[in-house]
Symmetry: C2
């Protein structure tokens, strides 16, 4: 079979560039997420079994089963989780993404993001805030109580507000955030602020009580990462447009389940290429040590896959105070990523680089040829279930994913 | 008389650095602005008579008199403005500041900013938005109607919300905005966003109608410069702390009335040193030419006096799209300003310069010795009354102000 790789990649890149992800609304997962069902747990990263899950993912599954009313306590939940009654599936196989453990169950409300260019939808839960939260593997009462409040108040208020607000184009909002020091993975302060000012008048216009509306605005205000759960499905929507362009070597998925790192490639469809999730080099919160840290976890590397996050760190110099390193490191990460990407984002401009477009469209050929790995910045979860976040830092995928994908590509396209 | 200039300037700089400006509240000018009265018009820049005012300042005075009910139409207002019934005084002589024409009358609501360190207050009107607005010399019905809405709705809602919100420390907010691409003179997008998210829950809690609250949130959201009228009195509050430290050569005021540029110096008290306001080099809105432009106008150079605005352009690379030039120009402006300033702001860090503090404390000795003028970025008003903004760009003060101030300093301190 003869394939023009450059042409296929140009097509993939054009589809990514043409995407226009907007906030479509909010609904309950079981109503809108393809294939969602009561006994299904969606999680971050490539496929994994209960037995192989790391602590934070197990913790989040326990919390998810309690939240869903399928288990009354952690012991019951663990037993159920290990049984054949519960099924597991990666968010990415259901058009969605989940930060960190990324656990979603049937009753959880989700953002619905639509790519106006192709009409397809992507999904993500609502961000819970910092501290003890499900996505970092915590499952105590406060976690469940907050998730219930999200279901009963936050989501309904936002769901009612969205149709009363002007259409929110997430690509435009991310583009502006990049001019305001965010890279929308580990720094979402500007984007969260813009989201709040966009929604605040509409929230005020809903018929909920003054207290509920004020509480919703306070909750969003209290969490500079609130926008992460929109930057992720927005990035997913852009990359989804390149699924599955025949012959393309552009990466459409990079994600981790806390045990393995997985990638998928446009021309290789839904095949996963995995390797061990790596340890993160970064800044730990006081009281924690390296031995407390879980390996890399979460679907949030979808931002890097789309040219944001670690790929756009030059736009977010202040992030080095959170993930470590210096401002010139941040500039260099971005510069280096141009070497393994096929294009520059038209929408995402980096002011400090004279408005050069962010490096977009990771090409597995370039990764393997130049031996340069994608640069990811990320939060660090405690390795034990039930603890939570212990820091943030920098990490790379294992090279094995890219080598295996290249081998599969050669096998598929270059044999005769 | 023997004076230790370095010691005096260190004292001035320490006072500026120690200032903690917070939003204290909102009230009507006549209730809170020292010396305010019904027939007094406050304006930007150094003292000026009606006869010498440029078009936009005259336009704003006309609008102010109509707004105040002292004149029924522009013709009546012009006649009254030229008579001895109306008095004029610079905002800076009443502890306040006004952007562009800077006109304030007795009934206008003003922000009250308090420096918690010394308990002193500064004032500024509320930002009207863009387009046809009083501060750019427009005085049509839509301008007056908006000013009345500001008086009757915006100000009362915000006034009621402020006590319900957490205390807003403007220095902290500006410090964060500098990490988010603002320099808080011609770019206030991040700071405006942060102000809105801080106030939104409190606005929701007030007893005003749903429509009024939504309208207030929409109005703030519609104007990325809304925070300018807080960054200015915050900067004024910081510099006010250096008024009038004996022997100091630090500049406490830089401002323009559209005809003259004026400065004041800590050790020379309330004496004005003036020179002709300069023309601005910048980007004009479509349909306008250089001959339409008024010379430099407004008290907003208080931001530069405080190390923000043009002095912090390295923090706001995206601003070059508004005022012209390149990103490296922006970096160079900031670098150059270290040569004429005595210190680096502890609070205001510039990420792109490895978090170096912004250049603060303009020293007239350095300006004169090195022949380097302060760098200001600014809006450009049409030269005729009633038109409005025509662009934005870059400008410097006339060297004469600094030379005259130095001469006066020598006369006061160095004779025996």
């Amino acid at each position: 079979m003869l394939i023009d790789i450059q042409e296929a990649n140009a097509k993939a890149l054009a589809a990514i560039q043409a995407a226009q992800p907007i906030i479509k609304g909010i609904d309950t997962a079981i109503n809108v997420v393809p294939g969602m069902k009561k006994n299904l747990i969606l999680h971050a990263g490539p496929p994994i079994t209960w037995a192989k899950m790391s602590g934070p993912l197990k913790g989040a599954v326990i919390g998810g089963l309690i939240y869903e009313g399928l288990a009354a306590n952690p012991a019951e939940a663990e037993k159920l989780a290990a049984s054949s009654q519960i099924e597991y599936s990666p968010w990415h196989e259901h058009d969605g993404v989940g930060p960190m453990a990324g656990v979603a169950t049937a009753s959880m409300p989700v953002w619905i993001v639509e790519n106006k260019t192709n009409g397809r939808k992507t999904f993500c839960t609502l961000n819970e805030g910092l501290g003890k939260v499900l996505r970092y593997g915590a499952f105590s009462d406060e976690v469940i109580t907050r998730l219930k409040w999200i279901e009963k108040t936050l989501a309904p208020v936002l769901k009612a507000a969205i149709p009363l607000a002007p259409e929110i184009n997430l690509k435009n909002m991310i583009a502006q955030a990049l001019q305001m020091g965010d890279e929308v993975h580990n720094r979402n302060k500007a984007a969260t602020s813009m989201l709040i000012r966009e929604l605040a008048p509409a929230i005020t216009k809903t018929s909920f009580s003054q207290e509920e509306k004020a509480r919703v605005l306070e909750f969003m205000h209290s969490n500079d990462h609130f926008f992460l759960n929109l930057s992720m499905p927005a990035a997913k929507a852009m990359l989804q447009a390149a699924e599955w362009i025949e012959g393309s070597t552009i990466v459409t998925t990079m994600c981790r389940n806390g045990t393995e790192f997985g990638i998928r490639v446009a021309g290789l469809k839904d095949r996963w290429f995995t390797g061990p999730a790596q340890m993160i080099r970064g800044l730990l919160f006081p009281g924690f040590e390296e031995k407390d840290c879980n390996p890399d976890i979460g679907d949030s590397a979808i931002t890097e896959t789309c040219g944001l996050g670690g790929f756009s760190m030059a736009a977010a110099p202040a992030i080095v105070k959170f993930v470590g390193g210096t401002v010139s490191d941040a500039m260099n990460f971005t510069r280096k990523m141009y070497e393994i990407t096929d294009g520059e984002a038209q929408a995402f401009q980096i002011p400090a680089m004279d408005f050069r477009g962010s490096p977009t469209g990771i090409n597995i050929l370039k990764v393997c040829e130049k031996n340069i790995l994608p640069q990811i910045n990320t939060g660090i979860a405690h390795k034990d279930a039930g603890v939570g976040q212990v820091g943030a830092g920098l990490v790379n995928p294992p090279m094995k994913c890219f080598e295996d994908a290249l081998e599969a590509y050669v096998e598929k396209y270059c044999q005769n």
